[in-house]
């Protein structure tokens, strides 16, 4: 899962990124509205954390432009202005949720989880496909009720595929969503990780669709 953080306060930006990385997300960061807008416009993100009071271009304008250009990723706005009028303005501009400053980091993480899940069309925080159950809140995976130990990389890979189950996911898509923009993208590493993941999961849970990519399905 790849998240974009657009926040001009350097310390807050760092704290958000650290917390997100700790929670198993891949994170890109931007410090002003223009940079943030460009990244959101060109890179595929699973969610965006957007501050409203940004230099160069304010958050509301950035959001409106994304939505006008049919960029539909879920956006969580961070705002110091917590009157309902301000919230309504943000939601009207196309935000999916808001968190008022000063916030508890856990709340931001919980809301991001919910947004990612909702945008994948899932109602519960736990995704269950066949014998495999993924608990997004606790970052835990069980197979037939037995806990499976995964590295953070493996967890991210599985989480993305399970959020988008029954869909064919290309290697490029996986690379885009599992690595930040500075990563040297070599799709072979994906194959290595998929191979390791397969050993920890039931046979045929991750299927290879020749020439197209991978697919996770209940069968």
């Amino acid at each position: 899962m790849r998240i974009l953080v657009v926040e001009d306060d350097v310390d807050l930006n760092r704290q958000l990124c650290e917390a997100l990385v700790d929670a198993g997300y891949v994170v890109d960061k931007a410090f002003d509205g223009e940079e943030g807008h460009f990244l959101g416009d060109t890179e595929p993100y699973d969610a965006v954390i957007l501050d409203i009071g940004l230099p160069v271009k304010d958050g509301i304008s950035v959001l409106e432009e994304w939505r006008r250009d049919q960029r539909k990723m879920p956006v969580l706005i961070l705002t110091a202005r917590d009157r309902w009028t301000d919230k309504v303005q943000g939601i009207d501009a196309g935000a999916d949720d808001y968190v008022a400053k000063p916030f508890h980091m856990e709340e931001v993480l919980a809301r991001i989880r919910a947004l990612v899940r909702r945008s994948a069309g899932l109602a519960s925080s736990e995704i269950e496909i066949g014998p495999v159950r993924l608990d997004t809140a606790g970052s835990k995976v069980t197979v037939d009720g037995m806990a499976v130990k995964l590295t953070s990389h493996e967890y991210r890979l599985l989480s993305y595929m399970m959020h988008h189950h029954e869909k064919v996911i290309s290697r490029t898509e996986l690379t885009e969503h599992l690595y930040d923009q500075d990563f040297d993208r070599d799709s072979n590493t994906i194959e290595v990780f998929v191979g390791r993941l397969r050993k920890k999961l039931p046979n045929d849970f991750i299927q290879t669709v020749r020439g197209l990519g991978y697919k996770v399905s209940a069968t």
Binding site: D9, D96, E107
Partner: protein, 449 residues
């Protein structure tokens, strides 16, 4: 002073009416006098002519010509016509008399003769007829002194002048009334736009409109512009003051967030406590800024239907797995008489609170209550709260369940806002199972513009 309380229109009417009364009275007197003088000149001319004709005969000293003295106007032959003449000698014997004056004695004027030995004047005769008398003494020789007297009917003139005066009074009175009414109308028409302007300013104050509206004549159109400029300048000053405090308070929130996230290990508890205090101070000053701006609420209004639809839409988006239903039933009122941001804050917090507790459904009803109040009801299908809890939940900062997300200030803020607007808030059990919050707020019916 009673006068200072009179309307300007009435003052103009009264002053004009008084002026007209005096002016027209003088005009009437003047006209009558002029007419009377003209008539006098006219009959004097006839009498003079007669006088001259008689003098010519007397000077002829011809007995024969004195036998047939002329009457140049037929009225001198008509009996009792008031038009008479007579010639008397020094011994007061009558030398000749007009045929109209048989049996009538012409009264004697009590006036001095002028340098032409003439005198004229008006006098009543024995029968109370008013006569105009012209008289001249003619000294032919020491013994032959003749007095020639010619009269004209002054009653006729007096009646004529009286009739003229009567007609003049009627015509001038009509004119006076017409002019006075005209002045009243002009005053009314002139002050009409001022009254309209005043009504429009009142509309702004009572919230019927946001600006002074309407077309005005050039004399007061600038006043309208100035009033509107004053209104928006006032708005801007308030907005700026509010923004300054807001910027300060909001600016502190990011550093507080950063510190909060960074704290770990020993001593963290103390710093957390201090951060909580800072946060409380920030919140209090934000409230004060809002309140300061609110005390100057002028004619702010909020469309109840549009504003509640907006909140319902946003709430639905924020809580996709729950259902927000909205029912708007308004007839007697359609606008909240207050700031749109305050309305958002009230309904937003009410619905947000309902959302936190509901199992899946929240219902918003926007209804009219009286001709000056609207009623907003927000219900949920959650567990509801007990009687004892109801009294504490409205106090700011109280939270009944620490596990529900949010600051716990929601209903406290609503309760404060409602009291600022002089409304009321009531908690009850909803037929949906959960809590029902009813809020009554001031509202108006916007006049169609």
């Amino acid at each position: 002073m009673i006068f200072s309380k009179l309307s300007i229109s009435l003052r103009i009417f009264l002053l004009t009416a008084t002026g007209l009364l005096v002016g027209l009275l003088i005009t009437g007197i003047l006209l009558t006098n002029l007419y009377s003088a003209a008539l006098t000149r006219n009959i004097d001319a006839i009498a003079e002519q007669q006088l001259d004709a008689l003098i010519a005969r007397v000077l002829a000293e011809d007995e024969a010509s004195l036998q047939t003295l002329p009457s140049i106007d037929p009225r001198y032959t008509e009996p009792n016509s008031g038009w008479y003449w007579q010639i008397t000698k020094k011994d007061e014997s009558v030398l000749g008399v007009s045929s109209s004056s048989f049996g009538i004695s012409i009264p004697t004027l009590d006036l001095e003769y002028d340098q032409n030995n003439s005198r004229k004047g008006n006098i009543f005769d024995d029968d109370d007829n008013w006569l105009r008398i012209l008289e001249r003494k003619l000294f032919v020789s020491d013994d032959d002194v003749f007095t020639i007297t010619v009269t004209a009917d002054w009653d006729e003139i007096a009646a004529d002048v009286g009739l003229f005066r009567q007609q003049a009074i009627i015509v001038l009175a009509f004119m006076g009334v017409f002019l006075a009414i005209l002045c009243g109308l002009i005053a009314r028409l002139s002050f009409g736009p001022l009254l309209k302007l005043s009504a429009s300013v009142q509309d702004v104050r009572t919230g019927q409109s946001e600006r002074v509206e309407g077309e005005y004549p050039v004399e007061i159109a600038p006043l309208k512009g100035e009033i509107n400029a004053l209104l928006s300048a006032n708005d801007q000053i308030l907005q700026r003051a509010k923004n300054h405090v807001g910027d300060l308070a909001h600016g502190l929130k990011t550093p507080i967030a950063v510190m909060r996230n960074e704290l770990k290990g020993e001593g963290a508890e103390i710093v957390f406590g201090q951060l909580d205090r800072m946060q409380a101070i920030v919140a209090r000053y934000l409230d004060r800024a809002q309140l300061a701006a609110r005390t100057a609420i002028r004619g702010r209004t909020t469309d109840l239907k549009l504003a509640s639809e907006k909140i319902a839409k946003v709430m639905q988006k924020l809580n996709p797995e729950k259902t927000v239903s909205l029912e708007v039933r308004l007839e007697t009122v359609d606008k909240f008489h207050g700031d749109p941001e305050d309305f958002d804050e009230m309904l937003g917090n009410l619905v947000d609170n309902g959302m936190k507790w509901s199992n899946g459904a929240v219902r918003i009803s926007v209804l009219d209550h009286t001709a000056e109040q609207a009623k907003i009801v927000v219900e949920d299908d959650g567990p509801g709260i007990s009687e004892e809890e109801r009294s504490t939940i409205l106090k700011r900062g109280k939270r009944l369940d620490e596990e529900k997300p949010g600051s716990g200030l929601g209903l406290g803020i609503v309760s404060e806002l409602v009291s600022v607007y002089g409304g009321s808030i009531e908690l009850d059990r909803s037929d949906m199972g959960g809590l029902q919050v009813s809020v009554i707020i001031p509202a108006i019916k916007q006049r169609k513009s």
